[in-house]
């Protein structure tokens, strides 16, 4: 597993998200109300909306384009909608945040 530092917990607002640019597109990194951190592709399974721009509630985000609700834990659409987005492993070391880029590399292969 290739952990890459992306910044600090305090870089992301609570109930908010930031993007990490990667060669394969943007990864959205979310911070929940209770400081859990999740990373998923910044690409809604519905029509590609930027999930990082959505409203974060619990461990889910509502896509800003058409209000699909995506679970941050599983990447799956909640409710009646069907679809999933790739989740990316995250590690918190103290205040520092890492994501596992290998997951991306695997997909490329």
């Amino acid at each position: 597993m290739n952990w890459i530092a992306i910044g600090f917990l305090s870089d992301i607002p609570r109930r908010g998200a930031r993007c990490v640019a990667t060669p394969e597109g943007k990864v959205a990194v979310f911070r929940t109300q209770d400081d859990q951190v999740y990373a998923i592709d910044d690409h809604c399974p519905h029509k590609g909306g930027p999930l990082s721009q959505g409203i974060v509630h619990g461990a889910a985000v509502t896509c800003p384009l058409h209000n699909w609700v995506i679970s941050l834990e599983t990447g799956r659409a909640l409710g009646a909608d069907e679809g999933a987005v790739r989740t990316i492993p995250v590690r918190i070391e103290g205040e520092r945040l890492f994501i596992a880029l290998e997951a991306l590399a695997c997909r490329a292969a």
Partner: protein
């Protein structure tokens, strides 16, 4: 082999009969219905709420198309039966369909009585019977012209109230000295007249209509005493008569209505009649309860139970005009052998009268306070000797036996066989029994299983109290639509509690109001954030994480994740320097699309999020601020060029538009607010389909509001005419503040106004100067905190994190 059952007419009575029949003898008949109206079975009692705009047609459908399909019933819509051949046992429709029957049910209802005065057939004279009439009235009401309703009975008053709610100037003509004289005594009739007049409806009693005149269409109504009332719409609601012509033509015995026995059978043993067209024991009926009783009897007969028989019962009358409580039952004529008990409370607008004979109630009139109607009805039905409680009887049930005045206790004390729903003849025991046995928890469930409160709905409060008594907290008051899945409370309740409990943060609201989720959802959080911004402008710290992305980054997200930017151009006016600055920004940031908007602004589309602060910095250099094109807030004020340039302009519409925009920009509202100011009634700024609009006239400024030109199209309502620009501004600001304080999140002004009522808004903004000033002051206070340009804040570094990626990773590895 199934028998063929043919039904002529598809109103409420045959609809109910079919429900019973399908329950009692499923599969016995192949059913065919001919409906002269081109639609399914709907709740005719609810036409008045449709007319007043409180309900939509879809909400009053009893049996949708699916119901007929599910039960294998053939429904011919828009087919009028023109002949019954009793020899051949067939019926034939005006479209030429001939259908054989084994059993025939005639349910042709009634036809409205038309007074045969000259001009009764002019275009613009309507009756009030079916949805077509209601739609025609609503169409006529759009002109906001004058209407005359002939007939001050139940139907006439409901029509008048509905037309009044639609904005028409309404006059009711009634030939008798007091309104609803068949159901009310003169005292109650007088109170009713006063209440009707307080709503702005004119009432003329002892009015003898002599002619309706006009040039090819209705123009005026002339009375016998020479009075002339201008009108473009005349509604005749003077009564109904059974529609029995078809039966008569087929040789079936007809008196006033089609003569049937107690089993609803006519003199032809294979032909039944029910509903308003039927006459039983010399009586014809128009209220729904006895008609449903007929339906029950006819269904039992058709199912083979020949013992089923119709029994006459007095039915209470209730008026379905919002805000007027009225109940009348039985016989209340004066007589030597009768005594009466009367209670008058002028201050509270209450009048109650009980007519007694031999210590038993034979008649009841309640006005202003009708909660005890069910109890009095019960005492009357059971012929209870009331001599012991005579002194306190009129005060109602909760005064008996020293019990406290608690409406809950009153309902609890009702016996199980007390009638709760008069329309459907449902007693208390049946409701509580169904709730317990079937585990019902919502009003809709109870309506589905028992029909209680499913027709006119006036007993809904009683049914809800019964549910609370029976299942307590488990009762789910579905009348209120919850804000979202996170709470059981509706928007209004939440807004009220935020103020009452002085809740000033989203977590405080969620804690105190017992939110079911830890941090809400994408529906409730933006709503709560708005309510708190609006109610505590100085205390509340705006929670950007609870705002939709557009309001968080002050630009409009597009389908590809880029943004569009609309700078503010006050009143739609710009100049060379501004246009040059925009052109430079477009070049510098390679903005792919520039477009003029419907709100007289320039939109730059396709800007990368990272570029937004730099774009704003350049625009800011030229003096631009945010145009809030993304906000649930004041968007644009469109203007025309007004008296400065236009040869027709009456006032400086451009100047007023700019003044309004400079005064109100930055304010958050429940939903977007778009305004316009037109310099003359030619209305080039299209002000009459805006949330708020102004039409300048020579004598001042006509203020409009509650228009729509999106999903719905709706012309504005007129708030009123004011003389000066200052007044115009004050009224518009006060109106907006009223909407800000009362609107539900995402509810546009026209929907809010429909909910609150145009007259109430006019009263508070036009008539009540103190209220208007208070609204105005609260808006001005709130603007102190709201008028900060969000773009320049962000150029200065606010919310930097929003516009920059957190990190860029992996590119080096990819290159290796």
């Amino acid at each position: 082999m199934t028998e063929k059952l043919v039904i002529i007419g598809n109103g409420m009575a045959p609809g109910r009969m079919l429900e019973h029949l399908l329950e009692q003898a499923p599969g016995r008949y192949t059913v065919t219905i001919f409906n002269a109206e081109p639609r399914v079975n709907y709740d005719r009692i609810m036409l008045s709420p449709v007319l007043s705009g409180e309900k939509a047609y879809e909400e009053i459908i009893i049996h949708g198309d699916g119901w007929y399909i599910k039960h294998g019933i053939t429904l011919y819509k828009g087919h009028k039966i023109i002949a019954i051949d009793r020899e051949a046992k067939t019926v034939t429709s005006d479209h030429g369909v001939t259908e054989p029957y084994d059993k025939l049910v005639i349910a042709t209802g009634s036809v409205p009585f038309i007074i045969p005065v000259p001009g009764h057939d002019l275009p613009g004279v309507l009756t009030y019977r079916d949805l077509d009439d209601v739609q025609a009235m609503m169409l006529a009401a759009q002109s906001r012209a004058k209407a005359v309703v002939i007939g001050g009975g139940l139907l006439g008053l409901e029509a008048a109230a509905g037309l009044n709610a639609q904005g028409m100037d309404v006059t009711v003509l009634h030939v008798m000295p007091t309104l609803m004289e068949r159901q009310l005594d003169p005292a109650a009739g007088y109170l009713l007249q006063r209440a009707v007049e307080q709503r702005g409806i004119k009432v003329i009693t002892k009015a003898n209509t002599q002619a309706i005149t006009g040039n090819g269409k209705v123009g005026q109504v002339e009375l016998a005493d020479g009075t002339i009332i201008p009108a473009t719409l005349v509604v005749m609601a003077v009564g109904i008569r059974p529609n029995s012509a078809l039966a008569k033509q087929a040789g079936i015995a007809v008196n006033r209505g089609i003569v049937v026995d107690a089993g609803m059978r006519s003199n032809d043993p294979d032909i039944y009649a029910l509903g308003e067209c039927a006459e039983v024991n010399g009586q014809v009926y128009g209220l729904v309860a006895p008609l449903y009783e007929m339906a029950r009897v006819a269904a039992s007969q058709l199912a083979g139970n020949e013992a089923a028989a119709f029994v006459h019962l007095d039915t209470p009358t209730k008026l379905k005009v919002t805000g007027i409580d009225l109940f009348s039952l039985g016989d209340f004529a004066e007589g030597e052998d009768r005594q009466e008990i009367v209670l008058r409370d002028a201050a509270a607008g209450v009048y109650k009268r009980l007519v007694l004979k031999d210590d038993r109630i034979i008649g009841t009139v309640l006005y202003g306070e009708t909660a005890d109607g069910a109890w009095f009805n019960d005492l009357k039905k059971k012929q209870t000797d009331i001599s012991e409680m005579r002194d306190t009887l009129i005060f109602g049930q909760s005064y008996q036996g020293g019990a406290p005045l608690d409406p809950m206790a009153a309902v609890a004390a009702l016996p199980d066989d007390a009638e709760i729903c008069g329309c459907n003849g449902v007693c208390k025991g049946k409701i509580t029994g169904a709730v317990t046995a079937k585990g019902l928890t919502s009003l809709d469930d109870v309506r589905a299983h028992t029909k209680a409160s499913a027709s006119c709905g006036s007993c809904t409060g009683l049914v809800e109290k019964l549910m609370v008594l029976t299942i307590g907290d488990k009762y789910n008051p579905a009348a209120v639509q919850p804000m979202c899945g996170c709470t059981t409370l509706g928007h209004d309740e939440v807004r009220r509690l935020i103020v009452a409990k002085r809740l000033k943060t989203i977590p405080a609201v969620m804690q105190e109001l017992e939110w079911k989720t830890s941090c809400g959802c994408a529906k409730c959080r933006p709503a709560l954030n708005y309510y708190l911004v609006c109610d505590w402008p100085d205390d509340y710290a705006d929670d950007y994480q609870s705002r939709f992305i557009n309001e968080r980054v002050h630009a409009n997200i597009q389908k590809d994740g880029t943004y569009s930017v609309v700078p503010r151009m006050w009143g739609g006016v710009t100049n060379a320097a501004e246009l040059r600055a925009i052109a430079d920004v477009v070049d510098k940031f390679e903005i792919p699309m520039v477009k003029v908007t419907g709100g007289q602004r320039i939109d730059m589309l396709g800007i990368r999020k990272e570029d937004l602060p730099a774009v704003w910095a350049d625009l800011g250099q030229a003096g631009f601020v945010s145009g809030h094109a993304y906000a649930k807030g004041l968007r644009t004020v469109k203007t025309c060029v007004g008296s400065d340039w236009c040869r027709f302009g009456t006032q400086d519409s451009t100047g007023l538009g700019i003044r309004i925009e400079k005064f109100m920009w930055g304010s958050w509202t429940p939903a977007k607010v778009k305004m316009a100011v037109s310099g003359c009634p030619r209305n080039c700024a299209e002000a009459t389909c805006k949330d708020v609009g102004v039409i300048c006239v020579d004598s001042g400024y006509e203020i409009h509001f509650a228009g729509a030109a999106g999903l719905d199209i709706k012309g504005t309502e007129v708030l009123g005419l004011v003389k000066t620009e200052d007044e115009a501004l004050e009224h518009i600001v006060a109106l907006t503040q009223m909407y800000r304080e009362q609107g539900r999140y995402l509810e546009r002004i026209y929907k809010w106004a429909k909910r609150i009522g145009i007259p109430e808004i006019k009263r508070q903004i036009m008539d009540d100067g103190e209220k208007r000033k208070a609204y105005y002051d609260r808006f001005v206070f709130s603007q102190k905190f709201a008028q900060v340009d969000p773009w320049s804040e962000r150029v200065s570094g606010k919310d930097k994190h929003e516009f920059r990626p957190m990190a860029s990773v992996g590119f080096a590895q990819a290159a290796e």
